[in-house]
Symmetry: C2
Subunit: 454 residues, 2 copies
């Protein structure tokens, strides 16, 4: 019997008998139905279309908050509310780079988040270094009054392992270059594509806010700059108009389905609502909010009230320093012991291939049950040593909240990450719904089965 036929029958039974179907049936049926449901996809489609780019602190940030609150209400969550998140406001007006001298031509760049501007045109000679470590090892005399260019390329990897290796150039490059007397920093984009899109992204502000401008070149432009440097001295003109402008209050948007057995025990899932300003934030991270909200919605749609409370958080301003996540952890400090598990979707919309957990008691029966339910989706269980539940879960994990992680195939994620090219067409609807089905399974297990009798 097809599940499309089975499902209404199950609901009818549930409604007429006023009884929940057997957990085994419910989990499988939820999973199969979630594969077909369109509410999640509609969420990311409409968010990226109606709001579009929504960088923290822009006018679109406020529109995104209002949009998401309205959509959560429309979807029928029991409670929907917002919580304030305040942060310094950074804005981008324009950014231009040109090669001067014998081979004049434009280069495609984008300022790094948190950069200062050039205050008009800045000219300088380029000094190329292999990577961040090479910059650290470079004598100040070599880079003083120069434009430093960090050239290393991020490698592709299913789990994004190349990101951690490469992103230090973005995080710490400007501060290091500034300390050595450089007048600006350019990096090769932290991205794995070969298209003419520069990848933006935040600099680390933990050791101080750099006072020299910093920008990324697209990969083809970084190739071009390398070739030009091989031909002799290269001088560039930079005209970058960006900077810190004030303080802004945005909001986390939170939606809840109240549990009917252990309502005080909360499963926290979500994604981040903000995007960078260049694209429409489909993969990063409209998808994450939409996948998790779309999974929670399966319970509303099928009138299957969960035993525990399911809370979906659309975190504010992840990009500029997990600002919404920190505010959430602070605001909910006194109920974190009732956050029984947490996880975020923030790695695009590629198919999920593995589950990891970090549970104090990952009992065999529960893991066997999860494994069996996820296997038809092509997902394997990798163990109870999850190191991350997503960036916005870090502040919760630090307070001891247990985690699970649905690992997506991120091979292509860094082709689009933080670029103008992060748009809806990059989401494969089939992989997207496989995500929703997997999240639905995990919500069911944690809400209705995990340690329910203890």
């Amino acid at each position: 019997m097809s599940l499309r036929i089975l499902f209404p029958a199950l609901i009818a039974i549930a409604l007429t008998a006023c009884a929940t179907p057997q957990p085994e049936d419910a989990a499988t049926s939820l999973r199969e139905h979630a594969l077909q449901d369109q509410a999640g996809y509609a969420f990311v489609r409409d968010l990226t279309t109606e709001v579009g780019p929504r960088m923290g602190g822009t006018e679109a940030d406020a529109r995104a908050v209002a949009w998401t609150k309205a959509r959560f209400e429309q979807m029928g969550f029991d409670k929907v509310w917002t919580e304030p998140v305040t942060f310094p406001q950074w804005q981008r007006t324009h950014e231009r780079a040109h090669v001067l001298g014998k081979f004049p031509q434009p280069l495609h760049i984008t300022a790094l988040g948190g950069s200062v501007g050039t205050d008009g045109e800045l000219q300088g000679e380029v000094v190329m270094v292999d990577d961040y470590a090479a910059l650290v090892a470079t004598p100040s005399a070599r880079v003083k009054d120069k434009i430093v260019f960090i050239k290393n390329r991020m490698r592709k990897h299913k789990e994004g392992a190349g990101y951690g290796e490469a992103v230090i150039a973005r995080g710490k490059g400007a501060l290091e270059a500034e300390a050595k007397g450089a007048k600006a920093l350019l990096i090769r984009s932290i991205g794995t594509d070969s298209h003419r899109f520069a990848h933006t992204g935040m600099m680390s502000m933990s050791a101080g806010s750099p006072q020299i401008p910093a920008a990324a070149l697209s990969n083809p432009d970084a190739d071009q700059l390398e070739r030009l440097i091989a031909k002799g001295k290269v001088n560039l003109s930079l005209d970058i108009n960006v900077g810190w402008t004030g303080e802004y209050t945005s909001h986390n948007v939170i939606a809840e389905i109240t549990g009917n057995k252990k309502p005080d025990e909360i499963i926290v899932i979500g994604g981040h609502l903000d995007s960078w300003d260049l694209g429409t934030g489909a993969l990063d991270d409209g998808a994450g909010v939409a996948i998790t909200a779309g999974a929670a919605y399966q319970f509303i749609k099928h009138r299957l009230r969960p035993g525990r409370t399911i809370r979906v958080v659309a975190f504010s301003n992840e990009e500029q320093g997990l600002v919404g996540a920190k505010a959430y952890a602070k605001a909910h400090a006194n109920e974190l012991d009732r956050h029984i598990v947490a996880s975020e979707s923030d790695f695009g919309a590629g198919p999920i291939w593995a589950l990891k957990t970090r549970l104090n008691n990952a009992d065999e029966a529960f893991i066997a049950r999860a494994t069996a339910l996820l296997k038809p989706l092509g997902i394997e269980y990798l163990g109870n040593d999850a190191t991350s539940g997503g960036p916005d879960i870090i502040p919760l994990a630090e307070k001891g909240v247990q985690l699970f992680q649905l690992k997506q195939d991120g091979t292509d994620y860094f082709d689009y990450h933080h670029t103008a090219d992060d748009t809806l067409d990059k989401i494969d609807p089939v992989a997207f719904n496989q995500n929703i089905a997997a999240w639905t399974v995990m919500l069911h297990l944690f809400a209705n089965e995990w340690q329910m009798d203890q």
Copy 2:
């Protein structure tokens, strides 16, 4: 014996015996050696790096002419010269589009070649039509004072068959929209990618120069605009600063290897030197000039003087109306009867899969010989009914010059065509050298074997 070993031996024999090797040996050896030679790739690499974008009429146009003349001389052609080409100058300063109203956001556009500017900001409501034919069929009342948006998408095709179907929107859309009283034209980019690059390209000026601004949206932005229109009335703001500015004189750059048997009989090959201003013109058409020059160079490198004269033409300003090609045909009108065959490479750098000819006498033995020499390169012969020898050959073909056509796989060509993303990394060096080998074979055949005894 490897050809790398064989080849110097052959040259040694040729030089010591003052005799040309047997044609069979020479053709095969030339082909195999051409597969490895780096001069062609160095040409396109250096042109796109040192000159970069080189739109007709820009300062880079003059640099491209000087660069190409110097490189031809460096390669050792017998004669290198330039011939003037004069045309109206069109320039691009900036182009911006924003959605107004409830869903404000930027859209990525690029002005079409020959467009007028908006003279500041232009606002208007968008009226969407399915394609150019639908615009023709639309009553004026529907589009009067509106911004017309032609939405149809170009399809992918190995031979670029989708281009002809779609490009009429670019060629004639603005004039048609203007005639119906529209205030601007937007089209979906004539391109097959789904990246945030708008594809520029010339409007047809044959029926008059449109006086309303015209621009193309990237494919993801066209998708977005379609989705927005589905939600209700859409108003846009356009700010396009482009236009005609004067007259400019550029040059065709011509290089020749003088034949030693029939020096007055000329084989004309080449590509166009100009590119659009957005990318660095690697595929369109640095590759074409480099492939044909790289093939001719095989004769110089190996001191194998051809029987007929080989002439490589780097045509000026193909993009804005075959201007250099027309000037060439006019300047050489009195020697076209001595142009025994002509062909251009202007479809990127994908592998060649077929040969076509249009010869008055495509004798069986010659075709069999060509087929045998091209077969190891994966190239088949498709017949003597070639309809094109490349855009810049049209004025010659109209005067009766015979043609050959080495057909490239253009499946991906329109992913990059006329965008900022047309950069060197899009050239596959292996396919590029397969092109050089095929052109080398054809040059050898036409210079040394074809109708040599008649």
